[in-house]
């Protein structure tokens, strides 16, 4: 089984932080991991499994918690792998993946400004799509659509 192989390959360096390796449609597998050990998991996936390219980072607001997911690509096996972590609490945060995959930089900036997930030790955490003084995380489910005038007053930046 591919998932079992992955689990055994990840075990030496990140075994304690792996919650599950499960099949996922369109991907080789999805690895669910503990957010506290994120950097170990990233290094194991990058060095031991050979997933050398980070395709995307995203975040989902599940109302009671938020999920961060990563899709990585291996140029050797030509396969995608999904990584995901559930973040709880009012100020969800996770270690930045930029030391392992530098391409995480802009993806994490976007995930932070739209869904409000903080990435610790990110080298350049600024707004990406929104004006610099934008005060909301607009893709949160708690974000209400404003009347244009109301939003204009709140988000004025010029």
């Amino acid at each position: 089984m591919a998932t079992d192989d992955l689990a055994t390959q990840l075990a030496p360096r990140a075994g304690a932080n792996i919650l599950a390796v499960e099949p996922f449609q369109g991907l080789t597998a999805r690895v669910r991991f503990r957010p506290e050990g994120a950097l170990d998991v990233f290094r194991a996936v990058h060095d031991d499994l050979g997933y050398d390219h980070l395709s995307m980072v995203g975040a989902i607001d599940w109302v009671d918690h938020r999920e961060v997911f990563y899709i990585v690509w291996s140029d050797v096996t030509k396969q995608y792998l999904g990584l995901s972590a559930d973040l709880t609490g009012d100020a969800p945060h996770i270690e930045s993946a930029t030391p392992v995959w530098p391409s995480a930089n802009w993806h994490e900036r976007e995930a932070w400004e739209l869904v409000g997930v903080a990435f610790d030790h990110h080298p350049d955490m600024r707004h990406l799509l929104m004006p610099d003084d934008y005060a909301f995380h607009p893709l949160l489910r708690s974000f209400k659509l404003h009347e244009p005038e109301e939003l204009e007053v709140k988000s004025r930046s010029v």
């Binding site: 934008y134 607009p138 974000f143 988000s155 010029v158």
Partner: protein
């Protein structure tokens, strides 16, 4: 023969050493100032006032009656819009300058630098992120300048009016002269908007 009365001191107070202010016209009982000096003071005030009044009158007359129509004629026949595409409306903007619609026959030539432009065509969705860049471009354009809001997005936010990132109407940022409706407006509509702007310029200063 009585001796002449001793000279009585003049009741006029001694002349003050301080120079007379230009606005101070001496009173009858005031300090004795030679008549010529008073006239000089008055003239000194009057001449610049007269000059100012005459020249502004002339300038207004010259500009309003003689030069303004010439400037307006020249301006409206050589509108240089800024070559700045924002969103899907920019495709129609580009098509208007292609061979089929050929906006150049009205003297409309897109330029790449705002310093060479007198017309800003806002052709697309303006987000809050790009808003201050739009204002910078507008401020870099020399006077006199005009703004056309092309399409529903620039006019009032369009389909993204309630979005969290879109300016609901570019008239929140810069003064707009002509609004063109449509999503997107056809190139004919843009040409019509430009012709209406030319009419606006023709009547400028009347």
């Amino acid at each position: 023969m009585s001796s002449p009365a001793p000279a009585v001191a003049s009741p006029v107070p001694p002349k003050s050493a301080a120079p007379l202010l230009e606005t101070e016209i001496p009173l009858v009982n005031g300090p004795a100032v030679p008549y010529v000096e008073i006239e000089t003071l008055r003239a000194r005030e009057f001449i610049p006032q007269a000059k100012e009044a005459l020249s502004s009158l002339l300038r207004e007359q010259m500009e309003g009656k003689l030069l303004r129509p010439v400037f307006n004629w020249a301006g409206r026949n050589s509108l240089f819009p800024l070559h700045w595409g924002l969103a899907c409306c920019a495709i129609e903007f580009a098509a208007a300058f292609g061979a089929r619609w050929d906006a150049e026959r009205f003297g409309v030539v897109p330029r790449s630098s705002p310093r060479q432009c007198d017309l800003l065509i806002v052709n697309g969705t303006v987000t809050w992120k790009v808003a201050h860049k739009l204002i910078t471009l507008y401020e870099q354009m020399p006077e006199p300048k005009w703004v056309i809001a092309m399409g529903n997005c620039a006019t009032g936010g369009g389909p993204f009016r309630t979005a969290y990132s879109v300016v609901p109407g570019v008239d929140k940022l810069v003064p707009v002269d002509i609004y063109i409706a449509g999503c997107p407006p056809r190139p004919e509509a843009l040409l019509d908007g430009i012709l209406q702007l030319e009419e606006l310029i023709r009547r400028r200063g009347e």
